[in-house]
């Protein structure tokens, strides 16, 4: 049967995630040390798991309101006000609990985009942005960031891409896969630009707690920004809760309301168990979170030192738990480097091109791994690089 005639055109045209292809390759091999993950190696802190179990014990197994538990929304709004984000939202109608940032992003894009609207985003980036924009019938417009300014983003790079059709900009800092962050001047200038051109900013701050250098408040707190920002965040990374699938979006109530319409018909609500676990995370797990963050930071330091010692250029990422390492000195393409390294040394890294074509020449290494594993992996990479250069 010719299934292509049944499958929607724009889905047929969507490429499979580059990560996916590599995943299939890795899975065929044994004894692989994988630096290719995008999630914490820690299990969710026990107090959070225990709260989830207790929630089940009490028989809390129902739907919640579409927006999510009010208690959780209140706690989130307190968290955003008090803790480093410096932005205030009303828990009643300016916050929606979603199934991860993944869903929040999808809701935001579908709520905003008319066919043909342009959305600007920066590459190398999280694998979903480009596809999500297309699935919402928008036109993705990419900005290529580069290692010369440590994969950061200046307003003038955005300005070059703005057209009358531009509706929104997606920002992701700290960035997956580069670990880049924005400084105060960059955020100020980007804010001015967004106001001047009347654009919506989607800010994916899922790695915000995992910032190892100076941490600035959310771009939503900059002048003129709160009314035009959809703030996306979740529990997956900082609280090691990827499997709980819980995140949230905050923004002006009109936008949250539009997102809520899609959410209520497609997802109904996020899992109540996960919502109650998330509540515990915000109430009582700051210490566990900081312990994990501290460990990531130390692993980052170790990792960067080792890569620089073996002659692979790698700047020190300011946030997230990824290192974006330049491998051009080996004369191999990203994909060849990753494939050869996997074959010869059984270490999996993700080719930079999985995050956009400008990721050529780089590979992503995750440091959400024990330092013992990182040591073995870097020893193997060192041997591999030496062989390549000889």
């Amino acid at each position: 049967m010719d299934y292509n005639k049944f499958i929607a055109q724009h889905i047929q045209e969507l490429p499979k995630s580059g990560i996916r292809k590599f995943f299939d390759l890795v899975n065929l091999m044994d004894n692989v040390i994988s630096l290719g993950v995008g999630e914490p190696d820690f299990a969710t802190p026990w107090e959070i798991r225990e709260a989830a179990i207790y929630s089940l014990e009490k028989g809390h197994t129902s739907y919640t309101s579409n927006l999510g538990l009010l208690s959780l929304r209140k706690e989130i709004c307190r968290y955003l006000k008090d803790e480093d984000f410096n932005v205030e939202y009303n828990p009643v109608d300016e916050c929606i609990i979603t199934v991860g940032v993944s869903e929040a992003l999808d809701l935001a894009l579908r709520a905003l985009i008319n066919i043909g609207d342009e959305v600007i985003y920066h590459e190398p980036c999280y694998v979903s942005y480009n596809a999500e924009i297309k699935m919402a019938h928008g036109v993705p417009v990419k900005i290529e960031t580069n290692i010369d300014n440590e994969f950061s983003l200046d307003a003038k790079q955005i300005a070059e891409k703005i057209t009358p059709k531009t509706k929104a900009i997606i920002l992701n800092f700290p960035c997956n896969p580069t670990g880049a962050t924005l400084n105060n001047e960059q955020m100020t200038e980007i804010s001015k630009l967004a106001v001047e051109h009347d654009l919506i900013v989607l800010t994916d701050e899922i790695y915000s707690e995992l910032t190892y250098e100076e941490r600035l408040p959310s771009i939503a707190s900059y002048p003129g920004m709160r009314e035009r920002t959809i703030f996306l965040h979740g529990f997956s990374k900082a609280y090691a809760m990827t499997g709980f699938r819980v995140g949230f979006a905050c923004g002006p109530k009109e936008l949250i309301d539009a997102m809520m319409k899609i959410h209520q018909y497609t997802m109904l609500c996020a899992s109540i168990t996960s919502q109650e676990a998330a509540l515990e995370a915000l109430r009582n797990s700051k210490k566990s979170m900081l312990m994990m963050k501290n460990e990531y930071m130390q692993r980052r330091n170790y990792f960067v030192k080792r890569f620089n010692e073996m002659g692979l250029r790698c700047y020190k990422p300011r946030g997230s738990f990824y290192l974006f390492v330049e491998v051009t000195s080996t004369k191999l393409s990203s994909l060849d480097f990753a494939e050869k390294l996997l074959e010869e040394e059984r270490v999996a890294v993700v080719p930079g091109t999985a995050f956009g074509s400008c990721g050529e020449g780089f590979v992503r290494c995750c440091y959400a791994m024990s330092l013992e594993e990182i040591k073995v992996a870097t020893d193997r990479i060192e041997r591999f690089v030496k062989n390549m250069k000889d």
Binding site: S34, G36, V37, T242, N301, A348, L371
Partner: protein
């Protein structure tokens, strides 16, 4: 830096200075200097291994002993506590608040050995008014380490 170093040593006292230096992004000399001063200053009193006795063939006997003491006018609980601490059988001594005064951990090869230590040595010390001995049956967590292995759970090798 002092605190970070202490934390790392507490997690793994065999960690090398070079690993500490790499983790904290400082030079090895600084680490060495800091550890030397912690040792000299008496903050670090020694380095030990966390041993799971149950995994050994002839595992020893351990008891936790609560001791009531009538304090002396001059030294309070100190003279008695210091005297108890001198016995090699005693590995830990704490003065605590609550229903009794001192909490000891006592080690021996056999139940009898511990029992006779309590009867002959401990109870006869001047100032010790009563003791209660609790033999340790199983250890679950020690020095921040959970001693039983959970079943392995493998995450996916590649994720976005």
């Amino acid at each position: 830096m002092r605190e970070s170093i202490l934390k790392l040593l507490q997690q793994n006292s065999r960690i090398s200075n070079s690993e500490i230096a790499a983790r904290l992004d400082v030079c090895e000399d600084e680490v060495k200097k800091c550890i030397d001063s912690l040792e000299e200053g008496g903050v670090i009193k020694g380095y030990t291994a966390v041993i799971n006795d149950e995994a050994l063939e002839n595992s020893a006997v351990k008891a936790i002993i609560e001791v009531k003491v009538s304090p002396s006018r001059d030294g309070g609980f100190d003279p008695v506590a210091k005297k108890i601490a001198k016995f090699s059988q005693v590995s830990e001594v704490y003065l605590i608040s609550g229903g009794y005064d001192l909490r000891l951990v006592v080690n021996g090869q056999t139940l009898n050995e511990v029992a006779s230590f309590v009867a002959r040595k401990l109870s006869t010390i001047d100032g010790v008014t009563s003791t209660r001995t609790h033999f340790l049956l199983k250890k679950y967590k020690q020095a921040n380490m959970i001693l039983h292995e959970d079943e392995d759970f493998e995450r996916l090798k590649i994720t976005p």
